[in-house]
Symmetry: C2
């Protein structure tokens, strides 16, 4: 399979100490890369997937559902992200993953990835690093959801996304496409869509952001960071 896995491999390469051989073996685990339309499920909550997905372009979201329909996102997956790392350990997924935009998605064999891990300690360490990186974000989101009110939550997500959408030569993107509607923002921030709407108004009228037809512009980065208590260190999953 010779799909263009660069976004995924580049991510691993820059964050972890991997040899070309490691990357080649990882690439061999990929059996398929395809375009996926918006609003499709890549994995189902409760399933036992034998394939893992990496996002090559587009946005996907990891979410958990309650039986009455309440929903909470627990991750957003952007270019380069591996989606279902939990599936590497034991089979059952506690969350679902679905596309938020049209995506290009690479599909990996779970079994093959586990084999590579066993043969190559540096790959195992990289996967541990990925899991720990997710851990850090989840920990920060816990604090966010447990202890910070609506405006701080949204501000924090915007800071995080601004950094994750930055080009390699910038620290944070001052403007980027935010392909989430207010209901989805609510499921991210643990809020109703109505309250998201009102909170966005507040952020706008405070001069911190602009948001027009899915284009988010940060007009006052410094104040946004301060409001959110955003400290970007939790995003840095550096070398082991």
């Amino acid at each position: 399979m010779h799909a263009d896995l660069r976004p995924f491999l580049y991510r691993l390469q820059t964050r972890f100490e991997l040899q070309d051989d490691d990357l080649a073996e990882l690439a061999d685990c990929c059996t398929d890369a395809s375009s996926v339309a918006k609003d499709l499920e890549l994995s189902f909550q409760g399933s036992q997937p034998d394939r893992l997905h990496a996002i090559l372009s587009g946005w996907a979201g990891r979410h958990t559902l309650l039986s009455d329909g309440r929903r909470q996102f627990s991750a957003l997956h952007l270019r380069g992200d591996l989606c279902e790392i939990d599936a590497l350990c034991d089979g059952v997924l506690e969350f679902g993953v679905s596309t938020l935009t049209a995506c290009r998605v690479a599909s990996f064999s779970r079994r093959a990835l586990l084999d590579v891990m066993t043969r190559r300690p540096s790959v195992a360490r990289a996967f541990l690093g990925l899991a720990i990186a997710e851990n850090k974000v989840l920990t920060r989101w816990n604090l966010l959801l447990g202890r910070q009110p609506a405006a701080e939550r949204l501000a924090h997500f915007f800071c995080e996304l601004s950094m994750r959408n930055a080009e390699p030569d910038e620290r944070h993107a001052s403007s980027f496409t935010l392909p989430l509607n207010q209901t989805e923002l609510g499921d991210l921030a643990g809020l109703s869509s109505v309250h998201v709407n009102r909170t966005l108004m507040d952020l706008r009228s405070a001069g911190l952001i602009q948001l027009r037809s899915s284009e988010l512009t940060i007009t006052n980065w410094k104040e946004l960071v301060a409001l959110a208590s955003f400290r970007p260190s939790y995003l840095a999953s550096s070398l082991v």
Copy 2:
């Protein structure tokens, strides 16, 4: 070092496929096991620890702070838990760990653990399994904090703790010591201590629990589970 690491090793052994040699090498990474008083910090948020801790007995808590003092627990560590697995990857801790009761704590060299991981793929896989297990809990807590109200949150924590405190021969403990005061429960559930108090009253008067001087008794397991939408699968970090 010949401390009695059984609680920690037993945990690894039962959940992951580890040989006696693996366990022996892990045990060799332990340089020290000691008693630690209540309310002491095992690791500091923002530090770069070179030691990891395993809880042999007692309770510890992992928490994140904001500069104005708001606090959120992101994990409770009980007998057998490894506390700072995040430190295995890159150095900086995004959280602190402190004892909630007097504890017996084993201390491991980070460097030595990383060495064992490199030599022994099954150990690497076990650590990945531990990280993924934390991931699952954090994901569930995200849903809890984002989408479930106070009574459901507390009920859920009680369900979780009841299972984690169960003896090997039972599915869940119907009664156990809960060494958290109402302020700490608040920092766990993202609530004020006053609201914790009132919510506990509600749970009591609904006949779901009893709570007297740190002894929690679950008087209606089934309803408590239903209220919390508790599905214990997220606690099962089984074999790879």
